[in-house]
Symmetry: C2
Subunit: 306 residues, 2 copies
């Protein structure tokens, strides 16, 4: 993977630009999330027209791209946090000046649909980012203090070398693995296959999670990545804690991921507390990490310059 510049750390009093790259934003959730960011010591600034709505999108592609470009290049901001996911981020990818972003990168924060941006940053530009809270999503609706603390510590660069991160995972296949953390929401990443924005996961310690997908679809997506030969050179897979849909059980999910790991001879660990289900413990993408033979994830570097 390419090695790019690290963003500057985000500290108390710093400006976070909030933008809506995907689905329409709920005003009540946005104000709750913004208030919480303020209480955490940050200064949130909100993109013009962040509440616009066009069906399942927060306005036209041009409007959402305008917000993204504002959040990525506003001189006084140190980070860009998505308001929420949904769908629409992949439609923006061709409309952002990534060369300009790479010259002066800043922390991008989000998950779900926003992993289309994070995986591009990590695997095309070598720029770290944070798989973490969104202003009008978990910032507004989840009350997990430890997850927010994790975000603050990661963003400010307060993480110790080789720090144990989150909670231990459960072994599904193989053992220890070390690589560049990347990945995100499986269905979103899969929707980039074949496009110019397809993430290149060679050397990755691949974090995967999803929501509302029955097991056969998780299987279908993993089958596609495997048949496409795109998981041949990953270091390992770390699956987020997931909520099964309908009548399915977590064991059914475990079986699908374990089988994928066996078929490509890659370690697979399950249950890291990040993603749509349960706490969304912030994870740095684009940085080196190691999961040991007991499922403990250690961060080997900080996502910010320091």
């Amino acid at each position: 993977m390419r090695k790019g510049r690290k963003p500057l750390p985000l500290r108390k009093g710093d400006v976070i630009a909030v933008f809506a790259p995907a689905g329409p934003v709920d005003p009540g959730k946005l104000s709750r999330g913004i208030a919480r960011l303020g209480r955490a010591g940050f200064v949130p600034e909100i993109a013009d027209g962040v509440l616009e709505k066009d069906g399942y999108l927060a306005g036209s592609d041009a409007h959402r791209a305008g917000q993204a470009n504002w959040a990525f290049f506003l001189p006084e901001a140190r980070a860009a946090m998505a308001a929420r996911g949904g769908f629409g981020t992949t439609r923006l990818l061709p409309l952002v000046d990534w060369g300009r972003f790479a010259r002066r990168p800043r922390l991008v924060v989000g998950y779900s649909d926003v992993t289309a941006i994070l995986s591009y940053l990590a695997t095309h530009l070598g720029i770290p980012s944070i798989h973490g809270p969104m202003a009008a999503a978990d910032m507004a609706t989840r009350s997990d203090g430890p997850a927010l603390t994790a975000f603050r510590r990661l963003a400010s660069g307060e993480v110790s070398p080789r720090e144990l991160w989150g909670f231990p995972c459960e072994r599904l296949h193989g053992g220890a693995a070390e690589g560049i953390l990347s990945g995100g929401c499986l269905s979103v990443l899969t929707s980039l296959l074949g496009t110019p924005f397809e993430p290149d996961f060679r050397g990755a310690l691949l974090f995967l999670e999803d929501v509302g997908e029955p097991c056969y679809r998780i299987d279908r997506m993993l089958t596609q990545w495997i048949q496409a030969g795109r998981l041949r050179r990953i270091a390992g897979i770390v699956v987020g804690k997931m909520s099964p849909t309908g009548g399915e059980k977590e064991d059914d999910l475990r079986k699908v991921f374990a089988e994928a790991g066996r078929s490509i001879s890659v370690p697979v660990w399950y249950g890291f507390p990040a993603g749509h289900a349960g706490p969304n413990y912030a994870l740095p993408f684009g940085v080196r990490a190691r999961i040991d033979g007991r499922g403990r994830l250690f961060l080997l570097e900080s996502p910010v310059a320091g």
Copy 2:
């Protein structure tokens, strides 16, 4: 697109081999469908272990591949009809001897998950097939006589040159278009992107339909195909009649497809009566067809030799 051999026609008294490449088969539906095939004058033969079940699959990959190979190579059979769709067909694609199939092709019949096979036959091997009824699905549960008659006429080669097929479609973008009919279930086709089985739709008159997918996912899939540059040289799109999910309307769907057509300057027509919703009027894949400026589809060749 490559030009391969055409299968032999399927006439009354001919054997149809029924196999389960994807999801587990309901015994009651299978017997109703088999009885109906018998009443239509065919001689259905059923694969060993067709009722096996392993979670969301009709048995292991090896077991389902065994059924497919049996159905494709059984000397006395003239056609191979899938029992049902679901998921699992893409996992079989590497386990079939396609070179052997291409030397003595037979009619393959199915839709939904089975379009993974049909699109491979049409665009990699140049072999026509029928997007049509499945033994333990619509053969058992739908009572659309005209759709069954359409299947019988196509399979036996009784179609007249330039015959008007199905019912006129509604214009969403552009005008007349002519190409090789192919396509199928959008989510299944999308799950082949980047794999060795990805259909090559250059020159195709692309039939698309799906079920249970909200508009944002249809948009996400079309965005992927377009960003991947894979729809650049298609002749046009014919969308099947679709049932919107949740609170969405058919107009929301029309908007998504119309916008895709505009963005790549390709004609788009909506509402052909085939697929998961309403009647599943049989369609030949891998043969030349034309949709005129009034949305009428004309078949320019027969899918069978003769």
